[in-house]
């Protein structure tokens, strides 16, 4: 057998369409995942197009296509910025028709967004990734038949965490391939620190007002930490209402807390590299903990609550320290011990970096490419599916396509 046959499976160039459900220019794990995936696929020489809602189309990179303005919609207990409607459906259809994709990869397909619309209007190899562990079945309950039909078109399901996988299996049955999220290790390991501080610095990252991020737990532990360690400071990165935060600590400690506000990804990486310990006091809702990996990639020791997802990322404590979830006294103890132990911090810095390499994007990319290869067929691309869809038929009326079978089938 010639060598070309053997190598072929690894080197076939693919045309990949990625669909992002949330606004490209609002920060979020799903968007970051899609951006990293797109960049890594491009690096491997594949053709990539990302369809995404976006607030300001100027901000889109070359490989992204404007999927429309997101609208604020109450969904799943919070306000989500999503894109829906007839115009959005038309845009998805146009994108699919012009893209000639070997594979279309939608993200978070259960959310009522461009992703679900894509499942609905596309035909052919569709891959879907579930990110969230709290997939509500509301979409399925309301339009069960339609949603089920759309989901049936997903040939390959990927879950980024065991929790995401379990919820997906519970709701839809069947199985999913587990491909844990990746971190672009080089993007965090190779940057210059943001600044130097006179004393040790601890960093918190995330929305201060979001209870599940657990800033309150850290603030409750803060007086004890300050009492134990001289000239220690807390750096808060992300949206934060300073007065609201400062109200939670005694007045004399106000000057130990510094707000850097929301930072760009690049500056966030630099900030992570410049602090001594990163603290993730999250009380729940984390299905993976990519931010832990980012800190570890930056070589910053991590102290995290003992959520199952965090314990797994930290290799059961070997790559970072944990404390009892929600227990401020325990956090103060663990944090104080670590900040005052230079050797342990150096050890965790190395161990964390090694652990982060296990989750490096190159591995994630190889896994995802294997999935693409398993569902796509040379010479067969994703087309527009109009079968059994009233709206599709209506929108297609002008082309005289009454039976909704405009696309010629390959089989």
């Amino acid at each position: 057998m010639s060598e070309s046959v053997a190598r072929q499976s690894q080197q076939r160039q693919l045309s990949v369409g990625l669909v992002c459900p949330y606004a490209w220019d609002s920060p979020g794990g799903v968007q970051a995942h899609i951006r990293d995936l797109a960049q890594n696929l491009l690096l491997h020489g594949h053709r990539v197009s990302v369809l995404t809602p976006v607030q300001d189309p100027e901000l889109l990179p070359d490989y992204a296509v404007d999927g429309g303005r997101p609208r604020s919609v109450a969904y799943n207990g919070s306000v989500a910025r999503l894109t829906l409607g007839v115009r959005a459906t038309g845009r998805v259809r146009k994108w699919i028709r012009e893209g000639e994709f070997d594979v279309v990869h939608v993200h978070e397909p259960m959310a009522p967004s461009l992703s679900l619309l894509t499942c609905w209007v596309a035909r052919g190899p569709i891959v879907a990734t579930w990110h969230s562990s709290i997939v509500r079945s509301r979409a399925l309950n309301a339009g069960y038949y339609v949603a089920q039909t759309a989901m049936e078109k997903v040939v390959a399901r990927i879950a980024v965490s065991e929790y995401a996988r379990r919820t997906l299996v519970d709701h839809l049955g069947g199985d999913a391939v587990l491909i844990p999220n990746g971190v672009q290790v080089s993007a965090f390991a190779d940057v210059e620190p943001l600044r130097r501080w006179p004393g040790p610095r601890v960093m918190f990252l995330g929305r201060a007002g979001e209870p599940r991020k657990g800033l309150a737990v850290l603030l409750a532990a803060w007086p004890a930490v300050c009492a134990a360690i001289e000239s220690i400071g807390l750096v808060i990165v992300g949206h934060a209402d300073a007065t609201e935060v400062l109200d939670q600590v005694p007045v004399e400690l106000h000057e130990t807390i510094e707000f850097l506000g929301p930072l760009s990804d690049y500056d966030k990486a630099r900030a992570l590299r410049s602090v001594d310990v990163y603290v993730a006091p999250n009380t729940g809702g984390e299905s993976f903990g990519i931010v832990l990996l980012e800190a570890m990639a930056a070589g910053t020791p991590v102290v995290a609550s003992d959520l199952a997802a965090f314990r797994r990322v930290l290799d059961e404590g070997r790559a970072g320290a944990t404390f009892a979830n929600g227990d401020s006294a325990d956090l103060a103890r663990v944090l104080t011990t670590l900040v005052s132990d230079d050797d342990e911090r150096a050890r965790l810095s190395v161990a964390g970096y090694q652990r982060a390499l296990v989750f490096d994007w190159s591995r994630v990319t190889a896994e995802i490419l294997a999935v693409y290869d398993s569902v796509s067929h040379p010479g067969d691309s994703v087309g527009v599916d109009l079968r059994g869809q009233i709206v599709g038929r209506l929108a297609q009326r002008h082309s005289g396509d009454r039976h909704g079978q405009s696309e010629s089938e390959s089989s």
């Binding site: 057998m1 060598e3 046959v5 053997a6 190598r7 072929q8 499976s9 690894q10 491997h44 035909r123 190899p125 038949y145 039909t149 049936e152 078109k153 040939v155 390959a156 399901r157 049955g173 069947g174 199985d175 391939v177 190159s362 591995r363 990319t365 190889a366 896994e367 490419l369 294997a370 999935v371 290869d373 398993s374 569902v375 067929h377 067969d380 599916d385 079968r387 059994g388 009233i390 089938e409 089989s411």
Partner: protein, 207 residues
């Protein structure tokens, strides 16, 4: 005709249209699922063929010791024969069947057993990271083993996606409306593929 009659007729028409719409959507859904299964079967066949090709290439490469090479080649040849026979069986040629019936030809079930045997051989040969590392050192070794790692993972994935499709299809075909109105037509009841496809532990998938 009274107003009540008109309402009755309109009502009946609406109900009939709704039923018709439901049936046409379900038929479309089934058709899509059958196509999906066909595509997955084609993918699995393709990946299995690639796995055979890479295994044969490995056994002929001189990277393995002669004994190991012979075992790998034997298993790969057997798998190729089994897939060729099942391919010719799939064409449903009524004339060819009696001629080839001399000594019962391997059935489809048998084919998966032969592929499982190849899996077993590969797991046995490349299960040890140390031994794999030795082969990696040799010229061509890294490339061939990377190809093998990739194809083993792809076999595992395609079979999983195929069985997912079969399960979804069966769910729809068990519906009363589908059974009573024979919406599935003459398409045979979908079967899952059961075989051992564990990738060898010594190989790691890399970019």
């Amino acid at each position: 005709m009274t107003l009540a009659d008109v309402f009755l007729i309109v009502g009946i028409v609406v109900v009939l249209m709704a039923i018709g719409l439901y049936l046409s959507m379900t038929a479309g859904r089934l058709d899509r699922l059958h196509r999906r299964i066909d595509a997955s079967r084609a993918s699995l066949d393709l990946q299995l063929a690639r796995r055979q090709a890479i295994a044969l290439e490995l056994s002929a490469s001189g990277l393995l010791d002669p004994a190991t090479a012979a075992v790998v080649a034997d298993a790969a040849h057997a798998a190729r024969r089994a897939s060729e026979i099942s391919d010719s069986g799939q064409t449903h040629s009524p004339i060819a069947a009696p001629d080839s019936a001399v000594g019962s030809p391997p059935s489809i079930v048998n084919r998966w057993m032969v592929e499982s045997d190849l899996t077993g051989v590969l797991v046995e040969v490349f299960g040890d990271r140390y031994e794999v590392a030795q082969v990696m050192e040799l010229p061509e070794g890294e490339e061939l083993l990377a190809a093998l790692a990739g194809v083993c993972r792809r076999v595992e994935l395609t079979r999983r996606f195929l069985n997912d499709g079969v399960r979804a299809c069966r769910q729809v075909r068990r519906h009363r409306s589908v059974r009573w109105l024979n919406l599935a037509g003459r398409t045979p009841w979908p079967e899952t593929v059961e075989m051992n496809d564990t990738p060898p532990t010594g190989l790691t998938l890399g970019a």
